[in-house]
């Protein structure tokens, strides 16, 4: 299906590649980030962090620090304890230290905070604080965390006797076991989805500005979910007087979030406490290493994956067993009822009978987290498992992995499709996507070339990933965070002159909301997108919403914008009927105006109708032209994609070159093709990252071995291949504008395509699986072990 633009370019509704409205200020260096905020009398905070992964704090000596010129205070856990602010809840209803009173649980954990008159003084103060530790043997290896001999880490939890957090399962265990027991082919791999970090360009930070006179807190902070943060602050600090009406959260421009700016970090709470106690604004900005070493990680799932099938390539069942390493507390950012997020989407794009999935989460002495790094809550882990196993199965039975996929796809007629784990996939056409990708890359030609190269001993691989995402959390019956339902909102105000401002409960971090939301409203109201100002991030002005992550903005707030705009169009129709003296039924809409059926010369433009709403509205009608909508989605949306990657591997150095990468995405109707393409490019680069480069590594003592960007390898433009993108369009049947969300598809879909390509290249030597990130060294080592070099 192709999409046609219903509006003119001047209006700039859906489907127009309108230039991003926000880029003017970004390109001129006029963005306004948290660190740009400077307030009168502002103080600066720095944080002393633990060099050890697990240690008792014997003493914190602040004397020398307090003598450093400019240092005003050193705050410790004992200080916060007096206000009962030393612990805070996590989004998963676990608990996390703000500052420790007794024990540190991971390297780089906050130990004390310095408040000073300048950033430099704060840093000098930090270096002057002396902390005495009694080092203990940490639990680092997740597979040993449940050993009876392992120390119990969360001794703060009364009665806790092990390091187990929770167990989760879904699917039909008995039936799955029966299918596995009788299947002709069973394949199994142990895989690790590495612990990685979002490494956004802007680190986290805030300015906490508490006014004693007004008993009011304004919190400027890098958050993807300002309203939720306001509620959390009120829940944590309500008892000291910061009730919700006294708190305003402002999230200014954000330099990348990717899920890492959803959680509440201890630094925010300490800054608030400091401002509250001192009565002056306090700024805290993390440095790069703190961001990488202490802020929430993503992934870190150890998965035992199994697939059962017939000899000729029909998938019969899957089984996944996950060990989830959460660090010292479960600070994931999942909807409350979903401890493993949407991992249960791991049945993938395939139509087969049964599955059984289970997960156990454990505590270790590593930083907390489990954020959804550009991913709808663990979909990345799920997609990697199913797509890797699909290729593994194809390899086992000697079948072409593309053909195997065609033979197992959920047929397009089968939608809405009920998955064995309870999802209702809204729509999809997987076959069309894969065909398009294969044509674009010349799949047949590549396989021929591969055969020739293999005969010469050269390593070339082709990898496919045909994934299904599940995004847009979510319907209120299932989705909440700390009890707050995951709807989202839009409020549109059209001014008398026909120009508008619209505010949202979401928060862009580079996604381009200021443009795409304006386009949605333009589509529905015919007001040029150029004339629609979009605002997000200020809880005093924007309607309540749960923020931007998990590709939820278009599915929720975007839908809210369309519905609110339709409410306004209905109002405009009434005004038009009144002005044109006809019945509402006699009117027809074309983008930008109502006209009388059969008499198109009798019409009123949307601008005339809005003006009338303020100057000449029908008696009995409410004046003005405003609408608000809180959209509770009836279902999630299920974007999909077909990615094919070609790699060439240098046998002698292990170097992997991604020769081509074709990405065909299906995100339903497209709001702005250029922005979608930009999102896909960025997402693919963040997909290549864990596939080939990124992984946070700890030694047995819990020391991070790659805690700077020199050693934690974020891919740069140099490593990014030439992405070839395209799309198929299968609109979401339940979404008001048929859109599905796209920001995360590429991050989710790319890693298995790359891993499959590399394993395909190495498969002649008996290599069936490699854990990501697949580095040249890993390839070289694997070839060496197999005697291939």
């Amino acid at each position: 299906m192709t999409q046609v633009c219903k509006t003119s370019k001047a209006i700039g509704g859906m489907g127009h590649s309108m230039k991003r409205k926000e880029d003017g200020r970004f390109l001129q260096g006029k963005g306004n980030y948290v660190d740009d905020i400077k307030l009168d009398g502002m103080l600066y905070m720095d944080i002393v962090r633990s060099p050890y992964a697990y240690a008792k704090i014997k003493k914190i000596d602040s004397e020398a620090a307090l003598k450093v010129p400019g240092v005003l205070a050193v705050i410790t856990g004992r200080d916060l304890e007096q206000y009962n602010l030393h612990w805070m809840p996590t989004l998963m209803s676990d608990t996390q230290m703000v500052l420790p009173t007794d024990t540190v649980m991971y390297q780089a954990q906050e130990v004390a905070a310095i408040i000073a008159t300048s950033r430099y003084a704060a840093r000098d103060g930090r270096e002057a604080v002396r902390v005495e530790y009694e080092v203990m043997k940490p639990v680092i290896d997740p597979f040993k965390a449940l050993d009876p001999s392992a120390p119990v880490l969360r001794t703060d939890k009364p009665g806790k006797t092990d390091n187990h957090i929770w167990h989760w399962e879904v699917g039909d265990k008995a039936r799955t076991e029966a299918v596995f027991a009788s299947a002709d082919v069973v394949v199994k791999e142990q895989m690790h989805i590495p612990r990685i970090h979002v490494a956004s360009i802007e680190t986290c930070g805030c300015v906490a500005d508490y006014s004693k006179v007004n008993n009011h807190l304004t919190m400027y902070m890098t958050t993807q979910a300002p309203h939720a943060i306001r509620t959390v602050i009120a829940l944590v600090a309500g008892h000291v007087g910061l009730t919700e009406e006294k708190v305003r959260v402002i999230s200014p421009d954000i330099g990348g979030g990717f899920g890492g700016k959803v959680p509440v970090y201890p630094g925010y709470v300490i800054a608030i406490a400091a401002s509250f106690l001192i009565g002056k604004p306090v700024k805290w900005i993390e440095d790069r290493s703190e961001n990488l070493q202490a802020d929430s990680f993503a992934r870190d799932y150890h998965i035992t994956a199994e697939m059962a099938g017939t000899k000729d390539g029909k998938i019969l069942a899957t089984r996944f067993k996950v060990l989830a390493d959460h660090g010292y507390t479960d600070a994931s950012a999942n909807p409350s009822k979903f401890p493993t997020g949407m991992f249960s989407i791991a049945t993938g794009s395939y139509d087969y009978g049964t599955t059984f999935m289970e997960a156990d989460a454990i505590y270790t002495n590593k930083p907390p987290g489990g954020v959804a790094y550009r991913c709808s809550f663990r979909v990345t882990e799920a997609v990697h498992a199913i797509e890797r196993m699909t290729d593994r199965y194809a390899l086992e039975i000697g079948k072409d992995p593309a053909q195997l996929r065609f033979d197992n796809f959920i047929p397009k007629e089968a939608f809405p499709w009920h998955s064995p784990t309870g999802w209702i996939y809204d729509s999809g056409d997987y076959e069309a996507g894969l065909r398009k990708a294969m044509d674009a890359i010349d799949y047949e030609g590549l396989r021929k070339e591969q055969t020739e190269k293999r005969a010469k001993g050269e390593l070339m691989g082709i990898g496919i990933s045909t994934f299904t995402e599940v995004v847009g959390a979510g319907p209120s019956k299932d989705f909440d965070i700390l009890g707050i339902k995951m709807f989202d909102s839009a409020e549109i105000r059209v001014h008398p002159t026909g120009k508008a401002i619209a505010r949202f409960g979401t928060k862009s971090q580079g996604q381009g909301h200021e443009t795409t939301y304006a386009q949605i409203i333009a589509e529905e109201l015919g007001i040029p997108a150029e004339n629609i100002q979009i605002e997000e991030g200020d809880t005093d002005t924007a309607p309540y919403g749960l923020g931007t992550y998990a590709s939820r903005s278009t599915p929720t707030a975007g839908a809210a914008a369309a519905v609110a705009a339709r409410k306004l169009r209905d109002k405009a129709r009434k005004i038009a009927a009144y002005l044109l003296e006809v019945s509402e039924d006699d009117l027809e809409w074309e983008p930008g105006k109502f006209f009388v059926k059969g008499a198109p010369e009798k019409s009123k433009t949307i601008q005339e109708l809005v003006f009338a709403a303020y100057t000449n509205h029908p008696q009995g009608m409410e004046a003005g032209f405003e609408a608000t909508h809180y959209y509770d989605p009836p279902n999630l949306t299920f974007p999909s994609g077909a990615y094919i990657c070609v790699v060439d591997i240098d046998k002698e150095t292990g170097e992997i070159k991604v020769r081509r990468f074709v990405a065909i995405d299906d995100c339903g109707n497209i709001i702005n093709p250029m922005i979608v393409q930009g999102q896909v490019h960025g997402g693919l680069t963040q997909g290549i990252a864990p596939a080939m480069y990124e992984s946070l590594i700890y030694d047995d003592d819990g020391n991070i071995l790659n805690g700077t960007l020199m050693d934690y390898l974020v891919p740069t433009a140099v490593e990014s291949p030439n992405w070839e993108t395209g799309h198929t369009i299968t609109p979401s049947p339940h979404h008001p504008i048929g859109a599905k969300g796209v920001g995360e598809s590429p991050t989710v879909g790319a890693p298995p395509a790359i891993a499959n390509a590399i394993v395909d290249a190495l498969s002649p030597y008996g290599i069936t699986h490699l854990d990501i990130p697949i580095t040249p060294f890993k390839v070289w080592k694997a070839l060496k072990e197999k005697g291939a070099i």
């Binding site: 060099p51 270096e127 002698e652 150095t653 170097e655 480069y693 030694d699 071995l705 020199m710 050693d711 390898l713 891919p715 740069t716 433009a717 140099v718 490593e719 580095t775 040249p776 060294f777 070289w780 080592k781 060496k784 070099i789």
Partner: protein, 324 residues
């Protein structure tokens, strides 16, 4: 970070004088290495003498070749027409290192003296003979994937991380220095040291000597050159192994050759005897591989870096094939 005083020099002689006799003073050029080390408390000078304003940034043709001022920026050197024409190997090696932003700051002198990237050297809570003489070596028995396979000692197994230095070794560069006792010229192969039992010294330069220039002699070798760098990421990463190769072939026979290795030792690794031995032999893989093996003779792997031996061998062969 320790408090320090700061002074700016405008003339080389002043720089040397400003540094004075205190051993705790240091020159600062681009600052891209020194400032990092100071932030980590690996280096803690009392005084910094800023030499970035010295008029030592010229790149001039001399009767023997090319003279590059010690303060010439890595990016300017890499893009210089004379360098690109006569010594493209140097451009190639410089561009293989760091990032554009860093190269805009980094200088010839600073690059010559950049310190090892050994993780333990950077972590002041760990033992390291190079940072604190006699404290031990964290890398021996630790995580030593990036460490040396050649020329190391029981005191230190660190490598010299520079790409530029490898090219300079293959180009027979000469380092010009000046100090309180006058000036001297140091051939590049004598400039960097093996660790022995004094790994705290990377080079033969005295603490109060200033590098003023690097000379590149125009030799008759001719032929082609290539810098091959193998690393974990295609940009912004140090070499696991690198090879700077120059090769002149006549009628299928090696006429002259230079091979320097990076990432494998405490200094750029070159064995002139191995090169001499290749002269007159056919320019084939067999010759290249036996030279590679000879260059790596006596290589001693540590727990995590045995891969470097074969990787280096392959890389040497590949680099020579590229220029033959």
């Amino acid at each position: 970070m320790k408090l320090f005083s700061y002074a700016q020099a405008t003339k080389p002689a002043d720089a040397v004088q400003l540094l004075g006799a205190q051993t705790q003073s240091k020159f600062i050029a681009g600052g891209t290495n020194l400032v990092d080390l100071m932030k980590y408390d690996v280096e803690s000078p009392d005084r910094l003498v800023d030499i970035s304003q010295l008029a030592l940034t010229q790149i001039d043709a001399t009767d023997k070749g090319l003279r590059i001022g010690a303060l010439a920026r890595n990016s300017d050197v890499a893009a210089n027409a004379l360098v690109m024409k006569q010594f493209p190997l140097l451009s190639e090696a410089l561009l293989a290192g760091a990032s554009p932003q860093l190269r805009n700051m980094a200088t010839m002198g600073g690059n010559l003296l950049q310190r090892t990237r050994c993780h333990y050297f950077y972590d002041v809570s760990q033992p390291c003979n190079k940072r604190a003489a006699g404290s031990g070596c964290g890398a021996i028995g630790g995580y030593n994937r990036i460490h040396a396979i050649l020329g190391s000692s029981p005191s230190c197994i660190a490598t010299n991380p520079s790409d530029m230095n490898v090219a300079l070794a293959a180009l027979d560069a000469v380092v010009q220095v000046t100090g309180p006792n006058g000036s001297r010229s140091i051939p590049i192969l004598d400039f960097h040291r093996l660790p022995g039992n004094t790994p705290q010294r990377d080079t033969v330069l005295e603490a109060n000597e200033l590098i003023t220039a690097v000379d590149l002699p125009t030799t008759a070798i001719g032929g082609k050159s290539h810098y091959l760098k193998v690393r974990d990421r295609a940009s912004y990463a140090f070499a696991l192994v690198s090879v700077a190769a120059r090769l002149a072939v006549e009628n299928g026979v090696v006429r002259d050759v230079r091979i320097a290795l990076g990432g494998v030792a405490h200094k750029p690794w070159r064995l002139p005897d191995v090169e001499k031995n290749m002269v007159g032999k056919p320019a084939t893989e067999t010759t290249f591989r036996s030279a590679a093996k000879a260059l790596l003779a006596g290589a001693q792997p540590h727990e995590h870096n045995a891969f470097k031996i074969q990787l280096a061998e392959n890389a040497i062969v590949r680099a020579l094939q590229t220029v033959s």
